[in-house]
């Protein structure tokens, strides 16, 4: 390490706020992800509420057309990239190492970097509200994103923040792929992986393959906007349909990136609260893989009205219908799981059952869209937001809520209020149906989506009013969830290590887990090993928590580091420098940011290890 030019020592287990900035502990990073993403989810919710207030009645004038268009663009982008994806990432971080019997992820500092980069991208996007956010839709169809159509900085913020979020997602995905492949405890074969880890693993692979596509599309768009290239400029021979293909080749796998982790959570929760193993484990895993694979063959169903021709539409009709088969298999296997079980209706279980009920409806309306001739009447109407919210809210968000409550004892070390949890479940369950179900009606009644107002004589008034009312029920439900989590995280009853009589390894260690997770790396002998251990009565003791001799001194753990944070901060500065590239010196700020980023990465790669003894005793 003598070559290290800047001799900044590694931080020595700092406490307090610095502890969070330098942490490489997957559990703390998981919590950072979760809290940040939940805050972003709330901002997306505020955007939604503003839209619903504007649409509560005909010809209202609460927000202007321009602001409304920014609202729906930001709502979509926020919910997908800043809420659902990072909420899933929060669970990847916290849960995967625990489920596979590892002490951390494969690349702990890279993991911290993923989080800080995600935060940079999130700030970048959300701060674009100052000065006007992007209003080209989350799908950013060309040529609405061209300089001629959209000269403001909103689109630039959108492009750059998506690129940064892409870096965060890719880094995290590589990390989790390597972690799942290499860090499993002895005996934890792939076909003994808990379902959540399996689905997360598939999601990570999908991300690695899908994100480069949007990266390329965004680079092309950047060149169009900054350097007058013509990828999407039809006047000079570009193609606007090219953007749509690139976007949806990414965008459809993205749908499965959003839903697969939630399916994984549900596949953990249902067996635990039915006291039965998952019905057809292998089939469910296989169905997940097939969904991920077929997810690449259906992108053009987002483009049924673009005029690709009858043959192309017929092909994508067939593939889209077929993807319903593996999805159906999952639903049936979940039913098989609770069938014959001994069902405990805890809050996470209610959310998981709610997931099945709601996701099924989204699935059925999805098959309706696959029928491309009748989809010509549904495409770009409110029928689509109805469908996508049943899948992404009734599906992804319900699954995530289930996970938030299911693992609450594990990550907080406390118990939440079951009563309050159940009330919030019913509010959210009723609220979402009151909000999203009437969207089917107005959609089939001819109401296009993405309109900031509608005339009085269209017959859409009543159901729009109902939808807006439902949105406020949802607000109430989420306030209760927030209160439940916040209050009990602080003052809840201490949680035992295994409050649910669960089946997977994370429940074999104390709540919250010690920094080193497992005192001894477990040896796995079967699927649902922890359950088998408990049933078999084998003397696999639950490690005691927090004794003075078990503070982890003899366990090698990754050390904290400043550099992931510094590198991500450099990226954020560079990103601002790209948007405001004519500030003082052209591209000056971008250069400064990139320099900081490079210094961060350089210092990171040459960072010394604190304890020379540890350096000797480990790799």
């Amino acid at each position: 390490m003598s070559t290290f030019p800047i001799s900044i020592p590694r931080p020595v287990h700092p406490t307090g706020i610095w502890g969070w900035f330098t942490t490489v502990d997957h559990k703390r990073i998981g919590i950072l992800y979760g809290v940040t993403a939940f805050i972003m989810f709330l901002t997306g919710g505020v955007e939604a509420i503003l839209m619903r207030v504007q649409l509560a009645g005909p010809e209202l004038d609460i927000v202007s057309a321009a602001v409304f268009n920014q609202l729906f663009t930001m709502h979509g982008t926020t919910m997908i990239f800043l809420a659902v994806m990072p909420l899933s990432a929060a669970f990847f971080n916290f849960i995967i190492p625990l489920q596979i019997g590892a002490r951390d992820v494969a690349f702990p500092r890279l993991n911290a970097f993923s989080y800080w980069t995600f935060l940079a991208g999130a700030l970048m996007l959300k701060l674009s509200w100052i000065g006007g956010a992007t209003d080209a839709g989350w799908f950013g169809y060309a040529p609405l994103t061209s300089v001629a159509q959209n000269p403001g900085t909103g689109i630039d913020f959108w492009i750059i923040s998506l690129q940064i979020l892409g870096i965060a997602s890719l880094a995290a995905s590589f990390n989790f792929i390597v972690t799942v492949i290499n860090m499993r405890a002895p005996g934890m074969t792939m076909m003994r992986l808990p379902l959540f880890t399996w689905m997360s693993f598939i999601t990570a692979i999908l991300l690695v393959l899908a994100f480069p596509v949007i990266t390329v599309a965004l680079i092309e768009l950047t060149f169009d906007r900054y350097f007058m290239f013509n990828f999407f400029n039809v006047a000079n021979g570009g193609s606007v349909v090219l953007w749509q293909h690139l976007f949806w080749v990414f965008g459809h796998p993205e749908v499965y990136i959003l839903i697969l982790p939630a399916m994984g959570i549900v596949s953990e929760v249902l067996p635990v609260f039915s006291k039965k193993p998952l019905f057809g484990y292998k089939t469910v895993v296989l169905a997940g893989i097939i969904i991920a694979f077929m997810g690449w063959m259906v992108w053009s169903h987002h483009m049924f009205t673009v005029g690709l021709g009858a043959v192309a539409n017929a092909v994508f009709t067939v593939t889209t219908m077929l993807i319903a088969v593996p999805t159906g298999i999952k639903v049936f296997n979940w039913l098989g799981t609770i069938w014959g079980g001994s069902i405990r209706f805890t809050t996470p279980m209610l959310f998981s059952i709610g997931f099945i009920a709601m996701f099924l409806m989204g699935g059925i309306s999805g098959v309706m869209h696959a029928v491309s001739p009748s989809d010509a009447q549904q495409q770009d109407t409110y029928f689509i937001p109805a469908h996508l919210h049943y899948v992404l809210f009734g599906g992804a968000i319900m699954g995530i809520l289930s996970g938030i409550f299911y693992w609450f004892p594990k990550y907080s070390g406390k118990m939440y209020s079951e009563r309050q949890g159940k009330i919030s479940f019913w509010l959210i369950m009723i609220g979402q149906n009151v909000t999203f179900f009437p969207m089917h009606f107005v959609g089939l009644d001819g109401m296009p989506r993405r309109i900031y107002t509608y005339a009085d004589n269209m017959g859409w008034n009543f159901w729009n009013g109902v939808t807006t009312g439902g949105a406020f029920i949802l607000v109430l439900g989420f306030l209760l969830v927030l209160d439940n989590i916040g209050r009990h995280w602080k003052n809840g009853e201490p949680a035992p290590s295994d409050p649910w009589d669960a089946r997977t390894l994370e429940w074999s260690i104390p709540s919250p887990p010690p920094e080193y997770n497992f005192k001894e790396i477990p040896i796995v002998r079967s699927l649902d090993d922890w359950w088998a251990t408990k049933q078999g009565g084998a003397n696999k003791e639950v490690p005691a928590s927090g004794g003075s001799e078990e503070n982890g001194h003899d366990i090698h753990l990754p050390q904290p580091s400043y550099w992931p944070f510094v590198s991500a901060a450099g990226l954020l500065i560079a990103a601002y420098g790209v948007v405001f590239n004519d500030l003082l010196i052209p591209w000056g700020l971008a250069a400064i940011g990139l320099t900081i980023g490079f210094v961060g990465v350089y210092a990171w790669s040459l960072e010394p290890v604190n304890d020379p003894e540890e350096e000797d005793s480990t790799h």
């Binding site: 673009v306 017929a314 219908m321 049936f332 069938w339 098959v367 770009d380």
Partner: protein, 367 residues
């Protein structure tokens, strides 16, 4: 207690579904897809019902099984440990094969319907082939000139078609992607810049059909509407005849002054008042106004000029023209006229109340 809640939910879900059916019986709504008035929309609705009933059966079976399981298998004793079943291959094969089979069945009418909507009937007459061109945020329409095959007749925001004949429509756009949609006649097709698209439909009954842009196209996407007016074929022909000639000059002096303002204020830079143009020639930036006073709506469907029976009401028309000319941005936020025309961008050149009155009289004389 818990059980009652559960059965209440399923009851709630069932009733909401029934409500959907009831809603389906609202044929009089302007853009209802449940009220098809031509064969294309009919075939699409027909397919929708197929898949709807199929979906409903699946929905009832699966949600029913879910609710049944929740009631039947709820916990009885905390210490109870049910049989640890790991799966059942035969069952799993069945619930893979049955949905696959059902989907295969649905594919047949789907693909049939797809080819049906993509190809206009052979009987479609060349004079019933028109062009629709999307602009931010209004629609331009062009008809072949029956007297001269090199010429086209231009109009805007209202498209007349002959009842009972298939009409073929070539779709284009001059700026961003729009989507052409008349729910009662046919599903939508996008208007993609430089990638001409095609659709066809037919109206079986005379009437006025609501249409609206369905692809998000910028600030005033919500305000981009049009009407399809289906009339008997002879009426269609005489309408086209009227359209191909300029409006009769008005004897009203105010209107004649208005014609002067129309030129001096720069309106002619974007708006044409004659309708016959060379085939394929580039259109003006703004809608053709040659017969603006004969249209039932102003500003791409934003302001209604006509009475219930469809005939233009002069008082309404003049009021609408005044509203529009005074502050077009209020009617249609972001429109190119308020951001591009000097009379709106340059306070020194602002139209006076008098000029507006003159313009209103002039424009309302363009029958």
């Amino acid at each position: 207690m818990r059980l009652q809640k559960i059965s209440k939910t399923s009851f709630l879900i069932a009733t909401t579904l029934l409500t959907l059916l009831i809603t389906a019986c609202y044929p009089d709504h302007n853009q209802s897809t449940f009220d098809p008035q031509g064969p294309v929309a009919e075939s699409q609705l027909h397919l929708f019902w197929w898949i709807f009933w199929g979906g409903l059966v699946v929905f009832v079976l699966v949600e029913g099984a879910l609710v049944y399981a929740m009631i039947k298998f709820r916990v009885r004793s905390e210490s109870d440990i049910p049989a640890q079943t790991h799966g059942n291959t035969r069952l799993e094969i069945i619930w893979t094969a049955v949905p696959a089979l059902l989907l295969l069945i649905i594919m047949v009418p789907t693909i049939n319907g797809l080819f049906y909507m993509y190809e206009a009937p052979k009987t479609t007459k060349p004079e019933h082939t028109l062009e629709a061109i999307g602009h931010q945020w209004w629609f331009e329409f062009r008809y072949p000139d029956p007297t001269n095959s090199e010429k086209e007749i231009v109009t805007a925001n209202e498209v007349y078609i002959p009842v009972g004949y298939p009409v073929a429509i070539n779709l284009e756009s001059v700026d961003v992607i729009h989507s052409f949609w008349v729910p009662k006649l046919a599903g939508k097709t996008d208007m993609v810049p430089s990638e001409g698209n095609f659709m066809w439909f037919q109206a079986d009954e005379p009437g006025e059909y609501y249409g609206q842009c369905a692809e998000y196209c910028g600030t005033s996407h919500a305000n981009m509407k049009f009407k399809v007016i289906a009339v008997p074929e002879p009426d269609f022909k005489s309408w086209l005849q009227v359209q191909s000639n300029p409006a009769l000059e008005s004897s009203d002096p105010l209107a004649q002054e208005g014609a002067g303002v129309f030129k001096s204020a720069g309106c002619t830079g974007c708006h044409a008042t004659k309708t016959v143009v060379n085939k394929g020639s580039k259109g003006r930036v703004g809608p053709n106004l040659a017969h603006v006073a004969s249209r039932r709506n102003l500003a791409a469907g934003m302001l209604r000029n006509s009475d219930e029976n469809g005939s233009v009401n002069d008082a309404l028309l003049q009021k609408n023209l005044r509203t529009w000319l005074q502050d077009p941005n209020e009617v249609k936020p972001g429109n190119l006229m308020s951001s591009g025309a000097q009379v709106y961008t340059d306070p020194d050149k602002k139209l006076t109340e008098e000029q507006i009155s003159q313009l209103v009289h002039y424009l309302s004389s363009l029958k």
